[in-house]
Symmetry: C2
Subunit: 105 residues, 2 copies
DNA sequence: TGCAATAGTTCAATAATATTGAAATACGGA
DNA sequence: TCCGTATTTCAATATTATTGAACTATTGCA
């Protein structure tokens, strides 16, 4: 990998970054998928979009502190930073994804 | 007023619209200000931005179902749709504004 | 080793959206 | 009726998102 992944510390995660990241339905969908499993590569977590777009969305989620990415061989395994986020923003993700489910087409 | 204000019904409010509206710090700030009072005109709720920008932000918040706007004479009085939002998205606004406060510069 | 396949990233061009100045509107008061 | 204030609308510009194409890294296999 050219540039290694950057993961902000839990205390540097802002509500601004989180809301911005999750204001996009594709990214919400990615995070929602990640929250229901214990690791997924980029292709699995988000089907139907071109790879470059998916890569962009993963970067936004990562920079917002919502996901952790780790290169495992040729693919990148992503996980939701559930516990950390829930510690710093109690109830937020729960509140959001309760409704995200319903609104999915 | 040329076109009257449109306020979506509580059941038509989506998490998509809310997160999009609140992904912008200025709009979060406006809503935060509105939540702490019982009515404010556009100028009061958001100082430091050009009027056309403020108007745009209010439209986004209104269309998202987060605020109610009513023309009172020459000005527009805005209120946060607190109760309705909290009924449909329990805990969401609380969770967001708990941190918004802290992150304000 | 070397080559091909796979997964993802980067870059650069284009498309979509936000910001804002200037003009227009709506209302209240003199 | 005319003026001042608050806000909106419009149109131009600036910013940001999307995506195809080229590139990189890694694995497996001949």
């Amino acid at each position: 990998m050219a540039r290694p992944f950057h993961h902000p510390a839990a205390e540097d995660v802002t509500i601004d970054g989180i809301l911005y990241a999750l204001s996009d339905p594709s990214r919400r969908d990615i995070l929602f998928n990640l929250m229901g499993c214990d690791g997924m590569n980029c292709g699995q977590a988000c089907e139907g979009l071109p790879p470059s777009t998916v890569s962009y969305h993963f970067t936004i989620l990562r920079e917002a502190g919502l996901i952790h990415s780790e290169k495992k061989g040729v693919q990148v395994v992503n996980t939701a930073r559930k516990v950390e986020i829930d510690e710093h923003f109690p109830g937020l993700l729960h509140s959001i994804f309760q409704h995200h489910k319903k609104e999915q087409k």
